[in-house]
């Protein structure tokens, strides 16, 4: 594969991201255009932005790699990533927007009127954010290694520095347009090569793709349990991911937040039709990856393998650009969200300089993590972040929005027992203390099956035991969460 094309593509994506981000807003407007300038973000635009931010390295590279190695059972990942938005829609979207919260700690404080709960949620948000950032950086390292043969750490450092520069220099000002751009870029970068790949495959006489029962050591035993663990984590974990929550603030009201979520479902559903194609074709054209380890590279290698020549090089460059867009958008969105929480709840005083410091902090920890921790398949490690989110933030959001009897001690208990146990099992799994065969490993690698009920139960039982601590503003908060906009805005217009 020609390195020049790929490197150029990556450079173009990085540059375009910075330019759209930095200058998208510089096009000033006079007051006669005020209506255009002040128009809130419409559901479809916001949906494309959410999708752009959400489709991470795990989606772009990871799913194809997993399908390649483990077969179609791994398609539960994209289905879970999508269905997570349905659960978010039916339980959380509109009330969360109406709560006015920008981050999850904001929601916790507004609903439970407790600084302690806020602080605890902040710690968990930062933890989940970091867990999610590690695979993004590792994916970037892998991509750069395959494209240029550069040492593995270079890509991690590159993405981290671009994010720090862009965010800290205030270059991500029109973040919505950046993310919309990234969504369409990612879709194009997978769609166009996929069309050529399928054509080439048909040209070869459509050889049959077989999935023999090959299961890696990681999920060898108890595959059914692992599948359920994955389903629960992704279905319930999406609503708590820090960069997802933050984007709902951009919706002008709860009704638009709902419509936005439906559009997101459609947009990422379309995108997820593509990665499995790469996984299946990779089975045929890059079989050595099945046993070779870096299966996540399948998407990057296929265009060169199957098509070859200049066309293959160009398509490979397009895919490489798309992959970098995936790392950049998700990493910058997560870094912004985590840095926001760090400025508000960790650093003592506020200000622009502190936000920059927080940005560096927000990404340097996962960078260190990605360099030190051994590589877990991208999609698997993202799954762990989902598990933590599902067992802590999901109970907090669902009970906080629908249950009046939730108390601060109950929330603390649920967060600590649910989220804490999930975080602990993920840490044990990553550290490699408990090795695969056997139930202990399965239980720790897929904690959601037991940690989500633990989180919910702890929250409910402790709340019931501490009914005297129900926050006084509960009824006001509930009214605000659920009252339609027609009633709250209509009367003073």
């Amino acid at each position: 594969m020609s390195r020049t094309y790929a490197v150029t593509a990556v450079a173009v994506v990085v540059l375009a991201t910075v330019l759209v981000g930095g200058f998208g807003l510089r096009i000033s407007r006079t007051t006669s255009d005020f209506y255009v300038a002040s128009r809130t973000v419409r559901p479809r635009l916001n949906a494309a932005a959410i999708s752009g931010e959400y489709l991470s390295a795990a989606s772009f590279l990871g799913i194809a790699g997993l399908v390649l190695v483990h077969g179609p059972d791994m398609l539960w990942y994209p289905v879970g990533y999508t269905a997570g938005y349905l659960v978010l829609l039916v339980f959380v979207a509109a009330p969360l927007r109406r709560s006015g919260a920008y981050t999850l700690p904001d929601f916790a404080e507004g609903r439970l009127e407790s600084r302690q709960v806020r602080r605890l949620v902040s710690v968990l948000v930062v933890g989940a954010g970091w867990l999610y950032l590690v695979p993004q950086l590792q994916g970037a390292g892998l991509t750069l290694k395959i494209l240029t043969g550069a040492p593995g750490w270079l890509g991690d450092v590159l993405v981290a520095s671009v994010v720090v520069l862009a965010v800290a220099a205030g270059g991500m000002r029109s973040i919505t347009f950046v993310q919309v751009f990234q969504y369409w870029l990612k879709l194009t970068a997978l769609l166009v090569p996929a069309i050529f790949l399928v054509l080439a495959w048909q040209g070869d006489g459509s050889p049959r793709i077989t999935f023999d029962e090959h299961l890696s050591a990681f999920r060898a035993d108890h595959p059914l349990y692992a599948t359920y663990g994955l389903i629960i984590a992704t279905f319930l974990g999406t609503m708590g991911l820090p960069h997802v929550v933050v984007r709902f603030y951009t919706s002008p009201n709860g009704r638009d937040a709902r419509r936005t979520t439906v559009a997101v479902l459609a947009l990422i559903g379309v995108f997820y039709l593509l990665p499995p194609v790469y996984g299946a074709l990779g089975r045929l054209y890059a079989p050595e990856l099945i046993h070779g380890g870096d299966a996540d590279a399948a998407v990057l290698l296929l265009p060169g393998r199957v098509i070859g020549g200049l066309g293959g090089d160009l398509l490979g460059a397009l895919v490489a650009g798309g992959a970098f867009a995936a790392f950049l958008s998700t990493a910058s969105g997560l870094t912004m969200a985590v840095a926001g929480v760090i400025t508000q709840d960790v650093l003592p005083s506020r200000g622009v300089r502190h936000f920059r410091l927080a940005t560096v902090l927000a990404i340097s920890v996962p960078l260190a993590g990605s360099l030190m921790v051994s590589r877990v398949p991208v999609a698997d490690s993202v799954g762990m972040a989902f598990a933590v989110s599902a067992s802590s933030f999901c109970p907090l959001l669902v009970l906080g929005i629908w249950w009046r009897r939730l108390t601060p001690p109950g929330a603390v208990a649920g967060l600590l027992l649910g989220g804490g146990s999930a975080l602990l099992s993920v840490a044990i799994t990553v550290s490699g203390a408990v090795r695969p065969p056997g139930w202990p490993h399965a239980l720790l690698a897929w904690p959601a099956v037991w940690s989500v009920p633990v989180g919910f139960l702890a929250m409910i039982l402790v709340s019931l035991a501490t009914q005297s601590r129900i926050p006084p503003g509960t009824n006001a908060a509930m009214t605000r969460f659920h009252l339609p906009e027609a009633l709250t805005t209509g009367r003073h217009r």
Partner: protein, 396 residues
């Protein structure tokens, strides 16, 4: 014993248990003696009814009129021969016989008015047949201030009357307090409207209407549109509910304001806007940007400046929104600005700035005050930072 026998015993035991329970519940509840009420109850009802009739006049405060209308009811509550209500200056009403006592009342209650303590006194009367031998005077207090007294007269000393007079006086005080509350609420609303009116300068209203009038003949369509903008703008500025609004609404109102200003100044004023759509839902204190824009317009067009440029930008900065309002006008001496923001500027131009600065600090904390960069002839740049979320701040 057979199984059927056991079953019969169990059923019987259950019946016995259930019956006992029912009986216990019935006897635990006290039996009512009479369904149409005892004499005590009837007396209570009568008292309550009289009290409720006396209440409405007193809700208007302690005046001659309200005293006159409530005195008879109050006297029948106490069941005395005579009752007198006074304020701090004189007798408001005398109800009952022996009103010649009224001349001396003010001397006798002077102590009560001063100390706020109940007193009893013998009413010295030249007329031997006069039944009013003794009186008790209790203060009517609201907020620890003595507004007046209630004096009840009787043929002889009576502890019961003293106690009853105290209770009635306390009840009257509650009514008067409610009256006070009504009054202060009205005052509050009036003050609020005054404060809001103070934010839109009368000059602006006058100038806008004049500008609109100038279009009526030449460009009726334009005049109509401006009038609608004016109506919208004033409706927003005068709205009485809620302390907070959203950045979108505030910017919309600023746009209408600028449209009205430009109708007057035309090409002399050019305005540039940069608004990141992400920050439009941010909640902020009501009318806290509009005075800053008004300030910029004033500075920009002050003196002999031929044209002025104002830039308003609202940008996304992580967990905050950053609003910058900049003009290239005459600027201000930083020293003088410092005076104004310390509240020492007197009633000059800086009232709007000071007010906004104070409100921002009050809502978000001291680190969120206005940041103003200026110099004489160097224009002015005001930066406002607004957190995207703050507990208790909800735009409506």
């Amino acid at each position: 014993m057979t199984g059927a026998g056991y079953a019969v015993i169990v059923v019987l035991a259950l019946l016995l248990f259930g019956g006992g329970l029912l009986l216990g519940r019935r006897t635990a509840r006290p039996l009512r003696t009479s369904d149409v009420g005892t004499p005590v109850e009837h007396a209570t009802f009568e008292t309550l009814h009289t009290a409720s009739l006396a209440a409405p006049p007193l809700r208007a405060g302690l005046t001659e009129d309200s005293a006159r209308r409530s005195a008879r009811r109050l006297r029948s509550l106490l069941g005395t021969e005579a009752l007198c209500l006074t304020d701090r200056d004189g007798v408001l009403v005398w109800d009952g016989e022996g009103d010649h006592h009224g001349r001396h009342v003010m001397e006798q209650v002077a102590g009560v008015l001063e100390t706020g303590r109940d007193t009893a006194f013998r009413s010295d009367c030249d007329d031997l047949d006069c039944p009013l031998k003794w009186a008790v005077a209790v203060p009517l207090t609201v907020d620890h201030r003595v507004l007046g007294t209630l004096v009840a007269y009787a043929p002889r000393e009576s502890a019961v009357l003293a106690r009853a007079a105290g209770e009635v006086a306390r009840w009257v005080c509650v009514q008067l307090e409610l009256a006070e509350l009504d009054r202060s609420r009205t005052q509050l609303i009036e003050a609020e409207i005054r404060a809001l009116r103070a934010q839109i300068s009368p000059h602006f209203i006058f100038n806008s209407l004049a500008a609109i009038a100038s279009f009526v003949r030449t460009d009726p369509e334009q005049a109509r549109e401006l009038l609608l903008e004016f109506a919208d703008f004033t409706r927003y500025s005068f709205r009485s509910h809620g302390d907070f609004t959203t950045l979108a609404d505030e910017l919309h109102s600023i746009d209408q304001y600028l449209a009205l200003v430009r109708a007057r100044f035309g090409e002399r004023l050019s305005v540039t806007l940069q608004v990141a759509p992400e920050v439009l839902p941010v909640a902020l204190p009501f009318l806290c940007l509009q005075p800053l824009v008004e300030n910029a317009v004033k500075h920009g067009l002050e003196g002999a400046v031929t044209s002025s440029r104002i830039t308003i930008s609202a940008l996304d900065a992580g967990s905050e929104a950053e609003v910058v309002i900049e003009d290239d006008g005459t600027g201000m001496d930083p020293q003088r600005l410092r005076h104004i923001l310390r509240g020492e500027g007197g009633r000059s131009t800086g009232i709007g700035l000071l007010n906004v600065d104070e409100r921002l600090r009050q809502v978000y904390g001291d680190e969120y005050g206005l940041v103003i960069e200026t110099g004489i002839g160097a224009g002015m740049r005001i930066t406002v930072r607004l957190p995207k979320y703050r507990a208790g701040v909800h735009g409506s």
